[in-house]
């Protein structure tokens, strides 16, 4: 961290002033961040279980401590004391390092999150933020992309199939959803003219970016669930398909590291959403004593836990995506949408910066363009579903030239003669060749009947 704390002294105009910080102020802030994250994770686990339970009309954890608050502490203790196993097929070094990478990267992000305005700590006036620099938001993205290595390497180093599948999924998922996430943040950069978190928060004084940049906010909300592997995007650890995904072979404290990293990452993306779109530590109104000093921490916490609640709510509501639908959604919906939105925002911002068009004219023109677009979209005839070829394709003889050739596009192999074999009285199950893929029968089993086909 030391080079980073030194950075704001560069000529770059950065909103926060860290010049008063002594080494022990920095130390206090760093320790406070880590303590806050660890305690929040314990609380978040309880919070999630409790809220999901209420959504499913059951009480949730209520035995240990008041309202069951000590439940997650007990779980953490249990994990600590469990037997620590290393799989024999594991690649030992990477197997041990992977969970550490995850936790380490997830602890990095909060360093640049402004938690409150300038306050006085033991007589020293300092902003409630460990550090800030001109590319702080990019630094957050960088830390997130390093954190993925933990998942990917953990799955690979386990030397087992399901974890490997989980980490392959995770790689694909993160590459595609980080693109959309980064692009949704770009419109905030364009409007603020800065990538420093403090300046972004300060730029949201009249109105939070969530409203004027609503599409970008929506994209961020979707991609942040994808980024932290939460439902409905928890494909890397889909328990119905992959046992436990990348963490299947981990036990005891190493498993707890992954668990911790996942929850800290939830807090991270919530904090980023708060900072970039929800006005950071500002109160929803202006010019009150509630908008000053330590009150900012309260507002920040409220907004942060609003997003955490959103995560739990989504988990209680939505089902997991199918993998191909999930990828299609990322590449064919989110990314093009984000690109169009960036172009729109830059055009508007460019017009404001470099011409003297007034806001009203600009808004009216934009509204006009949208209305015209909507009218034109009504004139475009609806796309008809491609008509089924009525004429059945001509029968294709694979052995026409003496040796077998595969069918070309448009040609269809004749149905297998084994398809028509029936057992007396049970002919109904295979009425339609298109539908019986989903029945209990294994289509590949047909090949094994080649020799004995006559028996039936």
């Amino acid at each position: 961290m030391s080079p980073m704390t030194a950075l704001p002294m560069a000529a770059a105009p950065v909103g926060a002033d860290f010049s008063n910080d002594t080494w022990w102020i920095v130390l206090i802030k760093a320790v406070a961040i880590i303590v806050f994250l660890l305690v929040s994770v314990l609380f978040a686990i309880w919070f999630e279980r409790k809220v999901v339970a209420r959504m499913q009309v059951r009480p949730g954890p209520n035995v240990h401590g008041p309202f069951g608050l000590l439940q997650s502490l007990a779980d953490a203790m249990k994990l600590l004391l469990k037997e620590d196993m290393i799989v024999r097929a594991a690649d030992k070094v990477i197997y041990l390092v992977a969970p550490m990478i995850s936790v380490f990267a997830s602890l990095l992000v909060f360093a640049v999150i402004p938690v409150g305005p300038e306050v006085s700590i033991f007589g020293i006036v300092t902003p409630l933020q460990l550090t800030d620099f001109p590319v702080a938001v990019l630094y957050i993205l960088a830390a997130a992309s390093v954190g993925v290595y933990g998942i990917v390497l953990g799955g690979w180093a386990s030397g087992s199939t399901y974890p490997l599948l989980g980490s392959v999924r995770s790689t694909a998922q993160v590459i595609s959803y980080e693109l959309a996430m980064g692009m949704s943040l770009v419109s905030v950069f364009i409007m603020t003219g800065s990538m420093s978190t403090r300046q972004i928060v300060d730029a949201q004084v009249p109105i939070w970016w969530a409203l004027p940049l609503l599409p970008a906010f929506a994209i961020y909300l979707v991609s942040m669930a994808g980024e932290v592997n939460r439902l409905p995007f928890d494909l890397p650890e889909a328990e119905g398909e992959l046992v436990g995904g990348y963490m299947t072979e981990y036990s005891s404290m190493k498993f707890a590291w992954f668990f911790l990293a996942e929850y800290i990452n939830m807090l991270n993306v919530s904090a980023v959403a708060t900072t970039l779109f929800f006005g950071g530590y500002h109160a929803p109104w202006r010019g009150d004593f509630l908008n000053t000093g330590w009150w900012g921490v309260g507002w920040f916490g409220l907004k942060l836990w609003f997003f955490m609640f959103l995560f739990v709510w989504v988990r209680g509501t939505l089902l997991r995506f199918r993998y191909d639908q999930f990828m299609r959604f990322g590449w064919k919906v989110l990314i093009p949408f984000a690109l169009v939105w960036i172009v729109a925002v830059s055009v508007v911002q460019g017009l404001r910066r470099f011409t003297d068009v007034s806001w009203q004219t600009l808004l009216f023109v934009l509204a006009g363009v949208m209305v015209v677009g909507a009218v034109v979209s009504f004139l475009i005839p609806e796309k008809k579903p491609p008509a089924r070829d009525e004429a059945p394709p001509e029968p294709f003889d694979a052995f026409a030239d003496g040796y077998p050739v595969p069918p070309l596009p448009g040609q269809v192999l004749p149905p297998s003669p084994r398809r028509s074999l029936t057992v007396e009285g049970t002919a109904v199950a295979v009425a339609n060749p298109e539908t019986d893929e989903s029945t209990a029968e294994d289509p590949a089993a047909d090949e094994t009947t080649a020799e004995e086909g006559d028996r039936g």
Partner: protein
Amino acid sequence: MTVSTTVGALVPLASSLADTGHTSTGEAVLFWVLAPVMVIAALGLLFARKAVHAAMGVVVVMISLAVLYVAQEAPFLGVVQVIVYTGAVMMLFLFVLMLVGVDASDSLVETLAGQRWIGLLLGAGLASVLIGVVVTATYSKPVGLAAANVDGNPQDVAKVIFGQHVFALEVVGTLLITAAVGALVLTHRPRLSRLIGQKEKADARVATLAEGGIITPLPAPGVYARSNAMDVPALGPDGSPLEQSVPRVLRIRGQERGYGGVFAEIDEETRHQIEGDHTEEQS
């Protein structure tokens, strides 16, 4: 182009850098901590047996390099290095390594004839071009960080990239997009048959309902105390065996056991046991 001219061209560069540069203690400590790590990681790339270990070496070098960039007050470069190279490029490498398989080793067979010599020739050509560029380049006098970052580091980097070098940037961007589209075109295979969607499949199943088709999955084979094999039918709610729970192929082959058969086996075994007990008692 001899060695002496190369060195001669580089000497003023080195001296001009030494004139303006000064290193703080923290920076020196950072460098001497990171430099050995980077060298070891770079050697690991060369000597690691497993491809993933080599990739990890590259990642360590990249991240350490990024930290050094940041320490040199080029935060934008450092952070983008991590996002683009570590987060995207190396991640794609790892993705491919994983798809290829954990234990896969490189094939040493040349797929193109003379590939090695052509590659060597092209490499030598590239090296000579690069050396030529470096030697003939003229270096203007360094202006110092304060002058270079008047409006802040990212802003001034943007001015250089999208002002002075915008054409080169666009050309490189076009090249990269062309490469990506080319890869797509080369690896694309047209579908042999029409894609049948989820809705269409469901509709087709419902359409067979009138002819006695079944829209739900078929029942699973029977599970009994002594047998849960594929060839034993499940029992319906009324106690009758469900023939369809045995896979069609087994039924066509006549390999179905029938649940009566299972019970007969069990009966026989119990009878044996009871008789055996009796004989033991008698003896």
